[in-house]
Amino acid sequence: MIRILDIAFKDLLQLMRDFKTFMFLLLMPILFTFLFGYAFGGFGGNSDSRLPVGYLSQDNHWVTDSLHDLFSESDLISLRENVFLSPADLEQQVANGDLAAAIIVPHGYGRDVLKNRTDLRLIVIADTSSTAWTSVEAELLRITSRLDGAVRTATIIERIDSERMPFHYAFEKTLDAWNDPPIAVTETKSPAVAKVSDSGAALAHTAPGMILQFAIAGLLTAAQIIVTERKTRTLQRLLTTSTRRIDVALGHFLAIFLLLFTQFAILIVFGQVILKVDYFRVPEATVLVAVSAALCISALGLLIGFAAQSEEQAITFSLIPMFVFSGLGGAWVPLEVTGATFHAIGHVSPVAWGMDGFENIVARGLGFESVLLPSAALLGYALLFFSLAVWRLYASEEK
């Protein structure tokens, strides 16, 4: 065990003396996070990651005002109002993907609701095949049901005791009561939020993407240490001491893991504090995903180090997974927007599982349970890569 620590410490000492490590460890991922974040959404907007929904009211009734207030308070949808836009304009914006949906409140809607009539209904424009629509539809139903329920409740109460509980008072109280419901409901954000052109959502995707991509890129330096060790026969010399091959593998693995985990920790804190990507919303989930991803990528680094015969091969072997795994795994473009087939194929890449884990926390607002499957997948890949690396070490040194 002590030899494993000795080898890991030696590796870290070597890595820290290499400027390339610092470049790949910190500077490049921070730079690219900004670059991709800007490309996807810029930094000028607010950090609202709710689904954008166009809103056009043609009704001046006070019930319609209450409906507007309910929509405005939604955690899931964000109203985009522009009095200069026509229904046709809204339809175009939905078609362009600029809006997840659009709501048009027809003239007389408030009056009909009050009279418990259903002649007039809300007009909703949406692409019903999109995943965003599912979320918007549920939110619309929830809010309109709440409004309708408040009207009905207030009507009944007014009939019973109109002096002490006039309609308006009962209506307001009923709506307020929904703010403190007897059950708590966790709402999930639609994956389509990634399409939204605002900086918060963009960074919620690009920040984890860059962390994972540059973790793989950083393998280059770590793998080169292993390649050089074998090329200069230092590895062979190690094996003439009583150090076992598995100790050598574990020592290198530990060093790469510590390096990557440090990189993850720094970039997560950077993302939280500077970019306002909410990694700390479920900190234990973030730690689990970071540890699993670091273990997986460290094992990949070990495999590259033992498989490559030269520095040139190490560069190639590091760049290929960086581009293939990152591209395929959705580090650059969210897999949700690529269609079901590519989404499924993308999950061949461990990066896709890492992205799922991080995005479940920072973009989809899910809890600890949501990262268990991605973490298990990452740990599975870690085991596979580590086993192949050890096999490669034993096989190559017997030649």
């Binding site: 030899r3 000795d6 030696k10 000492l13 200069t232 230092t234 062979q236 003439t240 009583s242 150090t243």
Partner: protein, 314 residues
């Protein structure tokens, strides 16, 4: 333990696919001796050393290092020996002191014992003053010294040195040869591989000559030279195609063997004084001129030529 051979090699075999790298090599080295394995590149020296270091498992045969079997007691073997590889097997990003400390830990040294031994080894290799410089900034000779120093850290009884003088300047080479003799004086057994016959001749108590994976001769320098029957080697060049004169010279009385390598004709003769005039006469008859003559008294190169028909450097 005192009468035990330091190294006892018993019919080692190792093949890599069709390539039979080592074929039945056996030899024995007494404690405190320097044994040189001499042979051209590809002769099987490094493969033999690798098996003796427990890096490669032999296909057949065994060897014992200070009584420890390479087949069944790898840890015993490793604790008894220090290995100086042909390459500079060091971490160039680390200083000499950091390298020695790391390797000392790999040999099981810890704490104050490690620190003390690192200082001792730095003194032995003469680099105490520059111990905190990165090895990557050292000259080739200094790196070689650290390379040797690493193998001394755990005070092994046996040291393997695999062609430690390859590619270094004459002064560094001299230092290394002196250090090998110094190790012997301290009672260590040294197994030294080289393809420089002068080194083997200068250092060794015993010499083993390997070729094509086999030990083709083994003994002291004098014993080996006797194998060529006291023959002298004459290397000549002529102003024409060497093959034209080769037949004529082979038939000269006193010429026992003739070969051509790199435009140079090598002859093994019983007495150079008697043979040389006949060589000049034969050349004149063929209208050729001899452009250089190099007479070499019997040595290991001649032994190798005698045994294999090829020069050692090939």
């Amino acid at each position: 333990m005192e009468n035990l051979p330091a190294i006892e090699v018993l019919s080692l075999h190792k093949a890599f696919g069709e390539n039979r790298a080592v074929q039945g090599v056996s030899f024995e080295v007494g404690q405190g001796e320097i044994f040189s394995l001499l042979g051209p590149n590809g002769a099987g020296k490094t493969t033999t050393i690798s098996m003796l270091s427990c890096l490669l498992r032999p296909d057949d045969g065994d060897a014992r290092i200070m009584g420890h079997s390479i087949r069944s007691d790898g840890n015993g073997v490793k604790s008894a020996l220090g290995v100086v590889p042909q390459d500079i097997a060091l971490y160039e990003d680390l200083t000499a002191r950091e390298n020695l400390s790391f390797w000392g830990k790999m040999y099981g040294l810890r704490g104050s014992a490690l620190k003390k031994r690192v200082d001792e080894v730095l003194d032995i290799i003469g680099l105490r003053e520059r111990a905190n410089e990165r090895v990557g900034k050292y000259s080739g000779g200094m790196k070689r010294r650290v390379n040797i120093g690493v193998a001394l850290l755990h005070k092994p009884k046996v040291i393997y040195m695999d062609e430690p003088t390859v590619g270094i300047d004459p002064q560094s080479r001299r230092n290394i040869l002196d250090s090998v003799v110094a190790l012997k004086d301290q009672g260590m057994t040294v197994l030294y591989t080289t393809h420089y016959m002068e080194e083997a001749q200068e250092l060794s108590d015993q010499i083993g000559i390997m070729d094509h994976g086999q030990m083709i001769a083994n003994g002291t320098h004098d014993e080996l030279v006797k194998l060529v029957g006291g023959q002298t080697r004459i290397d000549l060049t002529v102003n024409a195609e060497p093959q034209r004169i080769l037949g004529a010279w082979q038939s000269v009385e006193g010429v026992e063997q003739a070969s051509v390598e790199d435009e140079k004709i090598s002859l093994l003769v019983a007495d150079s004084n008697l043979v040389l005039p006949h060589l000049f006469e034969a050349a004149t008859r063929q209208s050729m001129r001899i452009t250089s003559v190099d007479i070499r008294e019997p040595n290991l190169e001649a032994v190798f030529l005698h045994l294999t028909g090829r020069a050692l450097r090939d």
